[in-house]
């Protein structure tokens, strides 16, 4: 059984007189122990809302959550708030994009780490401090004993993200949700943080739900990749399968529109036209149809369902998928 099973998750904002908007529109995926699953998409695709819903960090008012999410067999959404709080931080933890705003600016790093140890692991005093120093050392912060006394603003961006990861892994969580953990960082620092996450997964067996817009990050890290568009998973496959045979026109177009470091200069990009605002409601058809070169009448009549047009386990939500493998030939082996 999977560690985390998300089934038809929906998050609807508004309601009660105000205009409703569905940020997450029936998202399903699974994360196994020791597995890295990617949720990939651009702004507004619902990837961050999904992660916040799973962590129980969405505001209680002004939105409704539907569907089911089971963590280790227990339903997260029917759990009592206090049980949820206990779970959060000890069994499942989250890393955010902006480490500075996720850390309390007026409390030293050490206190913030020991607080977690005291709350979830019942450690006290010197033992907690020692463990905190050990954690900072574990995530690659040099001179941890001194860093414990420092405030978040005294650390660099990369060190802050490391400190945040230290707090997230303080209780050896079984699931780590990372929401764009490297987007705010420089690329050389990103490499360090990604390496740290890789180590955590490979050495501790932590499951990682990686939320990002960067397909490059996904390529070397994730086992399973879910591509989101307008609140729905449009394609889901293993990383090799997905990058070798992107089958949904959105995923296919996205890979063709990214400038690649290893592409010879002068090779033109094939952008996807329009923007995320050009979409139709999923109920009417495929939300991507207005930007799609391949849309047909069938794309405009009802929600397209996930199918496996190419290979078993490679799910695609498309009426007219890209099956001619033009992309695979382009890629130099």
């Amino acid at each position: 059984m999977s560690l985390l099973t998300v089934d038809e998750l929906t998050v609807t904002f508004g309601g009660r007189g105000r205009k409703e908007s569905r940020a997450v529109d029936g998202v399903s995926f699974e994360v196994d122990q020791g597995q890295v699953v990617g949720l990939v998409g651009e702004s507004g695709c619902g990837k961050s809302v999904t992660s916040l819903a799973l962590m129980g960090l969405l505001p209680a008012k002004g939105l409704t959550i539907g569907g089911r999410a089971e963590f280790d067999g227990t339903d997260l959404f029917t759990m009592s708030p206090s049980a949820r709080r206990d779970l959060r931080g000890s069994e499942m933890a989250m890393i955010f994009q902006d480490p500075l705003s996720s850390l309390n600016p007026v409390v030293p790093i050490g206190v913030q780490v020991t607080e977690i140890l005291e709350r979830h692991r019942g450690m006290k005093g010197e033992a907690a401090r020692k463990e905190a120093a050990h954690l900072l050392d574990r995530v690659g912060i040099p001179d941890p004993a001194r860093r414990l006394k420092e405030y978040p603003h005294q650390l660099s961006g990369g060190m802050r993200q490391r400190a945040l990861i230290a707090m997230a892994v303080a209780c050896a969580p079984r699931l780590l949700i990372a929401d764009e953990p490297t987007t705010a960082l420089d690329v050389t620092i990103q490499a360090q943080i990604l390496e740290l996450l890789k180590e955590l997964v490979d050495q501790e067996g932590t499951a990682l739900l990686m939320i990002t817009h960067d397909l490059g990050v996904v390529a070397g890290l994730c086992d399973q990749v879910n591509v989101l568009y307008a609140g729905k998973v449009v394609e889901s496959a293993g990383r090799r399968e997905l990058f070798a045979h992107p089958t949904h026109p959105y995923a296919h177009g996205l890979l063709g529109s990214i400038p690649r470091l290893d592409a010879p200069r002068g090779e033109p990009l094939n952008p996807i036209r329009g923007s995320i605002n050009d979409r139709i409601a999923w109920a009417d058809g495929c939300a991507f149809a207005p930007r799609c070169d391949r849309y047909e009448m069938g794309c405009l009549t009802g929600t397209p369902q996930l199918g496996e047009p190419r290979a078993a386990g490679h799910q695609v939500r498309c009426v007219n998928p890209v099956l001619d493998d033009a992309k695979a030939e382009e890629v130099p082996a």
Partner: protein
């Protein structure tokens, strides 16, 4: 002669302190001696990480920040010495496209008014009627409908706003356009639209670009020549393909290896050089080579004491490293830092039959890396300035 020549440009911001009377207690060496040439009709890409001074350098070309020392010569005129009013008039020939498409457009002006502003300032067009015709032509060029004229910035999508920003620069028919992170605020699927637009416009109008960006893949795609900046100075400069084929400076090597490629086949074969420590503060730059505190190949002699100058090593390749040749030939090995595989080891795949030796075939590795040193990031000597990274602000 090149269209735009920068020679020894320095921009130092004073750090002031004091209760009643401000005292200068130090300087932030944002740009510390940069010389480069941008040829007419070409694209010069300036790449570097945050805090390297690339944005300040771009602004100094337009004199939006004061140049402390050095010259910026556009078509024979030294901008650094122009008096205010003349500089203002000269700005017509040098335009800028900004990173934040929404923030760089006045929210209370409609598109027509935004695009007219520069023309009015330079006395282009007899009346608004004439200006409007010109604006309509430009809007068409950048792919916006002419009914955009009466609308306001908040009514457009991010990509469309950036098109407006490009149109604003174009109406003045500049010689050089400085693009400061032109696509980094846009969604991935929209970035390509703007990149293609910039390239089309260059072809059509013969524009010269100075593109400033942190994304090496974008810069590589769009530039003829690339300059890599680190802590206020250029560390390497080369034609785009040459730089990619064989980066000479340790920093460029690390930077390039860190950029992920969206292709598992490629990633499996790549290696990443992990740098140690943080970027030192530009208010207190390290002695000698600015990069020696983090350099994986730093040597005991010269690196900490003697600041390397950009030197030509053939093929239009300039590099500021004492040991560039020795590193390239593999004579020197890593002294700190770590080389890791770009792909996670435990990744679960059903490897395809034609690729049995994942991660071991070294001949395709873009950045050739000498023997890996058995050191980890943890026992590094922390970079001194990482202790007070915020002091410069």
């Amino acid at each position: 002669m090149s269209l735009l020549e920068l020679d020894g440009v320095k921009v130092h911001f004073p750090i002031k302190k004091g209760v009643l009377v401000d005292r200068t207690v130090g300087h932030v060496y944002a740009v510390d001696g940069v010389s480069l040439k941008v040829e007419a009709g070409e694209t010069y890409g300036l790449v570097g990480e945050s805090g390297c001074g690339k944005t300040t350098l771009g602004r100094s070309v337009l004199r939006l920040v004061d140049i402390t020392e050095g010259s910026v010569v556009l078509d024979g005129t030294d901008l650094a010495k122009l008096p205010g009013e003349e500089m203002r008039r000269f700005r017509r020939r040098l335009q800028m496209v900004f990173q934040d498409p929404l923030g760089s457009l006045n929210p209370r002006q409609n598109i027509e008014s935004i695009l007219s502003e520069g023309m009015i300032a330079h006395g282009i067009g007899k009346d608004q009627e004439e200006r409007r015709e010109k604006i309509k032509a430009i809007l068409d060029k950048v792919g916006l409908p002419s009914n955009a004229l009466a609308r306001y910035p908040h009514e457009f999508s991010g990509g469309q706003r950036q098109r407006i920003g490009i149109a604003r620069a174009l109406v003045l028919e500049p010689d050089v356009i400085i693009c400061d992170e032109p696509v980094s605020a846009l969604d991935v699927s929209v970035q390509a639209q703007v990149i293609n637009l910039l390239e089309e416009l260059q072809k059509e109008l013969g524009l010269t670009y100075l593109v400033i960006a942190h994304d090496l893949a974008v810069v590589r795609h769009i530039s003829d020549t690339i300059g890599v900046m680190y802590l206020g100075s250029l560390v390497e400069e080369a034609p785009s393909d040459a730089l990619y084929a064989e980066p000479k400076h340790p920093y460029t090597k690390a930077l390039m290896s860190a950029v992920p490629v969206p292709d598992p086949e490629v990633e499996d074969k790549r290696e990443r050089i992990l740098l140690t420590g943080d970027l030192p503060s530009p208010a207190n730059p390290p002695s000698g080579c600015r990069f020696h505190t983090r350099c994986p190949w730093a040597q005991a002699e010269r690196c900490a004491t003697e600041r390397p100058q950009l030197r030509d090593i053939g093929g239009g390749h300039r590099v500021a490293c004492h040991y560039a040749e020795d590193i390239a030939s593999g004579k020197l090995s890593l002294t700190k830092g770590e080389v890791v595989s770009a792909t996670r080891e435990g990744v679960e795949d059903n490897p395809e039959p034609d690729d049995p030796e994942t991660g071991t075939s070294a001949e395709d590795t873009p950045a050739k890396i000498p023997a890996q040193a058995e050191k980890t990031a943890k026992d590094e000597k922390p970079a001194e300035a990482s202790e007070e990274p915020e002091k410069a602000v």
